[in-house]
């Protein structure tokens, strides 16, 4: 079975599970002061579409959310632009993600809240 192997260090740390419901993995923020954000992932199938959920733990109005992913070692990204749906209360559904090759993929999330822009990353290994 093809599984997404989440970075062990991230999974092992209990602090990586965040928000009140302890679901998902904390995204790595570029800025220390950035609000905490979490990504909830399924077992990611190779070369097949999957969905993710991104949650800003403390809510707040999100002006814009961009989600993309790249393979740093291969110098390319996804072949599809994911569809993002605002579910309210800081929750967003991300559909149409496709990781078409095995290896390390890095999610790149950009959250705009008014004039403030925060960027996050999260790496997964796809087999």
């Amino acid at each position: 079975m093809i599984k997404a192997v989440l970075a062990i260090a991230v999974l092992a740390a209990s602090s990586a599970l965040a928000c009140e419901d302890n679901i998902g993995v904390v995204l790595t923020a570029q800025k220390q002061a950035a609000p905490e954000a979490v990504i909830v992932l399924p077992d990611i199938p190779l070369a097949q579409p999957f969905s993710a959920r991104i949650k800003l733990c403390h809510g707040g109005f999100v002006t814009k959310l961009n989600v993309d992913a790249i393979m740093p070692a291969h110098q390319h990204g996804m072949n599809y632009v994911p569809t993002i749906t605002d579910l309210g209360a800081g929750n967003h559904q991300v559909d149409g993600l496709v990781f078409h090759m095995p290896g390390i993929w890095e999610f790149q999330v950009e959250v705009t809240q008014g004039a403030e822009v925060n960027r996050y990353t999260h790496s997964v290994t796809i087999r």
């Binding site: 190779l46 110098q75 569809t83």
Partner: protein, 374 residues
Amino acid sequence: MIRWGVLTVAICGQTAAAEVLLTPDEIDQTLSFGPWPPITQNDPSNRVSGNAAAIALGATLFHDTALSVDHRFACSSCHDPTYSFAAPVRRAMGREKLARNSPSLMNLAGLRWYGWGGKSDNLWAASLHPIIHPVEMAQTADSWRERLANSANAAPYEALFGPLESQTPQMVLVNTAKTLAAYQETLVTPKTAFDIFRDALERGDLKTAGTYPHSAQRGLQLFLTRGNCSFCHSGPRFSNNEFHDAGVAYFIDETTVDGGRYEGLRFLFSSPYTLAGDWSDDDAKSGAWAVRNVRQTHADFGAFRTPSLRGAAHTAPYMHDGSLPDFDAVVRHYNEINMERMHTDGEAVLAPLDLTEAEVSDLTGFLETLSLRE
């Protein structure tokens, strides 16, 4: 080399070494290439997908030269069942020499993209385009409806879709393509020596797995590791069904370039026959996300769809332009790949492999086991 599961088996009073050479991690990767065949669903965009009468009509039409305007070609002219529904020539011959090699039509059910450049997102559209392409079948929707109405195929067509006179030529064309798609969905390659090996590994039957030739096992190990083959040739079909620059020349001749995926997307975006369009029978448009969200970049230029490796021993020559005559040439192409040919901003996956002659032989030996030889 780490060896796992070394097993000595007594056969007919003799002792033979039956070994599985793969590491646990390699075994885990190997399991991802099956089981075979995969379970597929009927195509919701094609209301006659899986319909026995449509499959029968599609099979008849596939082999019927009536599909071309002047009776010169049948689908099977370029997709010959003898060659796993490909053709043993470098580039297909229509009314003129076409730009690309005829791809095999095996194992097409349920794919996301069709054709070397992925200009179709469904099988009935991929079946329709050659019928009206001016250098292939060269029909128009009008000429095809008239041809069909005056043929023995009119009755089975009307039994499926209703009276011809009540249908527009465009509707008849699309319905015809849907019968061709229904037929092609039934074309599946059989289990091979690789599948016997893979399935034995899955159930922990090392005795059976160990009978898979050592050379093929070593070739599989190269396929999974140094060869970097499984980056693109993944899953039960040995293809991720996406698009890559494999370092093959994309000049068709001295003045013409094959744009590959770039041209495929341009065509797709202007096509009325996509899963997002009105000709799809799927009200939910369930597969349309791909055409709606696919990303076009300049790196698509010269990229072509990853072909399946199943049954590939029957479909030489290889690559989108048929420029490589056999597996040995394909392996040597990647072994000695010309990095100057690659996109400067392309994928950093391909590099010369530095395989020895023995390793080239092992890798080709493994590829052979993905086909069933008579």
